[in-house]
């Protein structure tokens, strides 16, 4: 039943035919460039150890690896929340203190727990938060809130109180809070975790329809198989594998070595 929507049906943007890597290297510009990024937490634990990675525009990439591999830490570097040694470039410009506002409007970071992302009393205020802090005028903000909620299938939820929403609804609205900023890149941390099958299915459909460059940190290999043609395995702060999901899924021993399993 679930396989009706095969892994490469690619309704989204139609760019995933053939080998995604070759396709991407053809003409698309790099959206995310990470070069020799190293980061240690204050307690001395090394979370990232010389990570280098290039993701091109409109690519959809999985970032997988065992717990504590550094996936979330890497995502937090993409918009300058954390600053390690090395270079992170977004759409060609290096992330630094001077351009954080711009970078953060280009990289939409969706946190693992929607209760952390939805911090306002109502859905409207949460979705409006990003656009308001981009200093857009109010009419534009209202328009974007409406548009973003419609994008995630939550139109009309403006005045709902976040506490009373289901987890699936919260996850969608968390995505809307960053879509409202109209970023070119979406970075999602465990978007399908804890969701029941129906909500999970809806989420996959939603992510597939989004035109953005997408990087998803996850353990959900079925989601990876269906949605993300390229996979990067991170283990102990290092990129150990970077390649096509289809090929990778055949190397079960490699997956198991890094604490993963084929779907």
């Amino acid at each position: 039943m679930l396989m009706l929507e095969g892994p490469y049906s690619s309704r989204g943007d139609g760019s995933e035919s053939g080998n995604p890597l070759q396709q991407a290297q053809g003409e698309a510009q790099p959206a995310i460039e990470v070069d020799a990024l190293t980061f240690s937490y204050p307690d001395g634990r090394k979370a990232l150890d010389g990570v280098s990675l290039t993701i091109r525009e409109r690519e959809k990439v999985a970032l997988v690896g065992p717990n504590g591999a550094g996936k979330s830490t890497l995502l937090l570097h993409l918009n300058g929340i954390l600053k390690g040694q090395g270079v992170v470039k977004i759409m060609g410009s290096e992330v630094g203190d001077g351009n954080l506002g711009l970078i953060r409007s280009q990289v939409g970071l969706v946190f693992q727990h929607p209760d952390d992302q939805l911090f306002s009393p109502t859905v409207l205020e949460d979705v409006a938060f990003g656009p308001l802090h981009m200093k857009l005028d109010e009419e534009e903000v209202r328009g974007r809130v409406k548009w973003a909620l419609a994008q995630v299938g939550m139109a009309g939820f403006e005045n709902r109180v976040s506490h009373h929403l289901s987890l699936g609804e919260k996850k969608r609205i968390a995505i809307a809070t960053v879509l409202a900023m109209q970023p070119g890149i979406l970075a999602l941390d465990e978007p399908s975790g804890d969701l029941d099958p129906r909500a999970r299915r809806g989420l996959i459909r939603l992510l597939r329809a989004l035109p953005q460059t997408i990087l998803v940190a996850t353990h959900d290999m079925r989601l990876v198989k269906e949605l993300l043609p390229r996979t990067v395995i991170l283990d102990e702060g290092k990129v150990v594998v970077d390649g096509s999901t289809e090929e990778l899924l055949e190397h079960t021993e490699l997956l198991e070595k890094h604490g993963l399993e084929a779907p």
Partner: protein, 267 residues
Amino acid sequence: MTHFHALDQYQEGNSLVHRLDPRVKLVLTLAFVVAVTAVPHGVWVSLLLFLGTIAVIAALARVPPILIFRRSMIAIPFALAAITLVFTVDGTPLATLSVASRNVSITHQGTVAFASILTKSWLAVLAATVLATTTSFPDLVAAMRALRLPKVMVAIVSFMYRYIFIIADEALRLQRAREARSASPRSTAGGSLLWRTKILGGMIGSLFLRSYERSERIYSAMLSRGFDGTIRTMGAEKLRLSDLMISVTFIAYLLAVVALGTIYMEI
């Protein structure tokens, strides 16, 4: 999954009171509290009129009076702190007690002052209860913001509302986990008092740590959406003429009741 709902006082409705602009409701509630305070001690006519006012508003809002009454009781213990007035205000003695070989008099004036303070506190809490019952919390927060209360303070209130339920849910889960591990084959479930006390300490510590970590994640989420230290929110809607007229009328009424009380006192 169970939720903690007891903290949400708001009762949905579509009455005149529910539809009144939250800013107006907030200001009028504060005005009501000030007016109640301004009534001299012992002028029961005014206080009775104020009680009647609350009753009329509650009826208009179609909120069960018993609900308002029960909720308003919460603040009474605090008002009892004024009991010392009974002994400390000078005046006509009603009774004299001998405490530790000293005479302490209960005075008429002291009793009136105490009863007045108790009644006034209760009326103030009643007004606040009606406000909280007929206005959703997000609306109240927006009203505070529109009335230019300090932004940081409003933000704290807003975060408190958003996260108090989540923290309460977490506490509930911790409590369940404790109960699940406190079964003893011989005694009744629950564990010994000492054991439970120890666990409670751990629970409080754990809740604090979780909340602290959560606050860091929330802050990251705010930064990620462009937060730069300045809280930006959407502007408020314009006040309707009818709301404005209701405000003026109600404030005039409050002044009249206070004036009545003051004149009553003079006679």
